[in-house]
């Protein structure tokens, strides 16, 4: 093919709109997160004032921020471990066993993933409602006396949040694991079965090692998406309450930067959480490194 000016014009015309939009709405705002974290800007002051690392220094002694980070880390650890275990086991059952209605179960399990978090939050609010909620009335029925647990109260709100987040995530990861498990050759299980290896041995000796690459990828997803999903759930379900008991890092960022108009301070939180999620992903990636197995 000749390389004339027509060719470069074509390339330019095709790529330019995408590059332009990407620059304006993603690259510049991302740079701004980091730049603004070094400034003080509020809704009332017109000019930005350079304050260096003052915002970050203030964060270190901000109890609300520390609490929101603790909550975030709690969610990352618990939601990841529980969802991971359930998704893996259910994926193994649905791919390895002869189950009637296998397709039906897969379809049902994936439903939460297509619902808006607003819808899921409203559903869980109806479940957790103290007086007329599904959960309390079910417990009353089972125990024979009136149960009125405050599921969104200060002490249990995090647990309630965790349950909702796991409910949302299981299907997504299960389908991911099912896809990679389906590519493990059947013959490996057959020969292992002849050698007398049971289901559990097969799961740990064949399935897990062979889908390890996929598991590592999903662990990174877990970290990044739990940080984001926690924000969406908190925003729609609890608004961080009661008394900040369910505040997470990004919801605190949003509160400071948008509701409170302390833009610089909010962006310092954003920058820190961004770096934190990257650091943690890199760490997990390093710790889980194994020689990839061929099959």
């Amino acid at each position: 093919m000749k390389k004339g000016s027509g060719r470069s014009r074509f390339v330019f015309l095709c790529a330019a709109p995408a590059v332009l939009l990407f620059m304006i709405f993603m690259i510049i705002p991302t740079i701004n997160v980091f730049r603004m974290s070094l400034f003080r800007r509020s809704a009332y002051s017109v000019n930005e004032e350079f304050v260096g690392i003052e915002n970050f220094a203030r964060l270190m002694s901000d109890e609300n921020f520390i609490r929101s980070m603790q909550n975030t880390i709690l969610l990352i650890v618990v939601v990841t471990i529980v969802t991971f275990a359930f998704a893996l086991v259910f994926a193994a059952i649905l791919t390895r066993e002869e189950i009637k209605g296998q397709n039906f179960f897969r379809i049902i399990f994936y439903i939460p993933n297509i619902l808006s978090v607003v819808v899921i939050s409203a559903i869980f609010s109806a479940i957790y409602d103290t007086n007329n909620g599904m959960l309390n009335s079910l417990l009353s029925l089972l125990s024979g006396k009136t149960v009125a647990i405050l599921w969104k109260g200060e002490t249990v709100v995090m647990t309630s949040l965790i349950v909702a987040m796991i409910w949302q995530a299981i299907g997504y990861y299960m389908v991911m694991y099912m896809a990679s498990m389906a590519s493990v050759p059947q013959s490996l299980y057959e020969s292992a079965g002849l050698d007398g290896a049971g289901r559990i041995t097969q799961f740990f000796q064949i399935t897990l090692p062979l889908i390890w690459t996929n598991i590592r990828t999903t662990l990174t997803f877990f970290i990044i998406s739990t940080i984001n999903m926690a924000f969406l759930f908190v925003k729609a379900m609890t608004s961080g309450g009661p008394n900040g008991a369910s505040e997470v890092a990004l919801s605190y960022m949003y509160k400071q930067a948008y509701t409170n108009s302390s833009y610089g301070y909010g962006m310092a939180i954003g920058a820190l959480v961004f770096l934190f999620s990257f650091g943690l992903s890199a760490l997990v990636n390093m710790v889980t490194r194994r020689e990839p197995l061929e099959f």
């Binding site: 060719r7 074509f10 390339v11 095709c14 790529a15 995408a18 590059v19 939009l21 304006i24 709405f25 690259i27 510049i28 705002p29 991302t30 701004n32 997160v33 259910f90 059952i93 189950i99 039906f104 179960f105 049902i108 994936y110 439903i111 939460p112 297509i114 619902l115 808006s116 607003v118 819808v119 939050s121 409203a122 559903i123 609010s125 109806a126 479940i127 409602d129 007329n132 909620g133 599904m134 009335s137 409910w167 299981i170 389908v175 991911m176 896809a179 990679s180 289901r199 997803f221 998406s225 984001n228 924000f231 969406l232 729609a236 990004l250 960022m253 949003y254 948008y258 833009y263 954003g270």
Partner: protein, 295 residues
């Protein structure tokens, strides 16, 4: 003897996995079905047992949600924003993905790398800088034209949606384009077709399955999105998208207790995604593993 012992353990195991599968299926299916049931209950019924069947078919809830709670108007906004964003996304991303994956030009590696990097930028971090950019833009427009139009504008919202979906979409489409043989273009060029004609007439039709996957995923994420919509459509009396309107209704519901309207509103948000899901569920779960990077 040994044989019967083994088979009874086997049977116990089968029972156990079915119980586990059915429990999870129920825990997902029942809350969703419950919302549909609650959406036709009269308000007074919400103070009784939440598990009671609706006394009648109280359709008035939907009329109230549609009119009084302005859900009809919000629905129209959501349809417009989603359709417009999908249109912009396809028009911008398809040509860009095509040249980025199939043409050699200077800066191509760099562009591919920054779009890849864009996969790791989540909108939750950059939503406030985008908001501030639009605020500044409006101030500037106010200075020269007397009025700003960037905030509370559903066209701008669609543009932001499309832009933030670019990295994932280009990643997915490029992956498909790069698997095609170069012979297709060579043949078209020999027949005298230009670059543009070859791209639109030959390559895009071949990419139809990937394009459908792109539309499906982005439809779900645009339709369900509410953080950006809530931030950029900030006028309390102005237009909103359906999830944002719904979230407002959940918050108002705590004081006004308009349960019926709330659940009718939830059904309105869920129904389009559920219908779509039932029609294309296989394609969706397959497509997910193809471009599984969307956390």
């Amino acid at each position: 003897m040994e044989q019967t012992k083994k088979s009874s353990a086997e049977r116990l195991y089968k029972v156990f996995i079915y119980v586990a599968l059915i429990t999870l299926a129920i825990s997902i299916f029942v809350p969703v079905a419950w919302v549909f049931m609650a959406s036709v209950k009269e308000n007074s019924e919400f103070y009784g047992n939440p598990w009671a069947m609706p006394a009648g078919f109280y359709i008035q809830n939907f009329a109230d949600a549609w009119g009084k709670a302005r859900m009809g108007e919000y629905m129209l906004n959501s349809v417009l924003v989603t359709a417009l964003a999908l249109l912009i996304l396809l028009v911008v991303a398809l040509p860009a993905a095509y040249v980025l994956s199939r043409f050699e030009f200077r800066g191509r590696k760099f562009l591919n790398a920054i779009f890849m990097g864009g996969l790791f930028i989540n909108v939750n971090y950059i939503v406030v800088p985008i908001f501030l950019m639009l605020v500044d833009g409006d101030k500037f427009l106010m200075g020269i034209a007397g009025s700003g139009f960037l905030l509370n504008n559903i066209f701008v919202l669609s543009l932001v949606y499309a832009s933030t979906a670019l990295p994932f979409t280009i990643y997915l489409l490029s992956g498909y384009f790069s698997t095609l043989a170069h012979d297709y273009e060579e043949a078209a060029y020999i027949d005298g077709a230009g670059y543009g004609k070859t791209m639109i007439g030959i390559i895009f039709p071949m990419a139809q399955p990937s394009i459908i996957t792109v539309i499906l995923f982005n439809f779900l994420s645009f339709w369900n999105e509410y953080i950006i919509a809530m931030t950029l459509l900030s006028d309390p009396k102005g237009g909103k998208t359906l999830p944002v309107g719904l979230m407002q209704l959940t918050q108002a519901q705590q004081s006004a207790a308009q349960y019926g309207q709330l659940y009718a509103g939830l059904v309105l948000v869920m129904l389009p995604t559920l219908i779509l899901y039932i029609c294309v569920q296989r394609k969706l779960t397959q497509g997910m593993t193809l471009g599984g990077l969307k956390g």
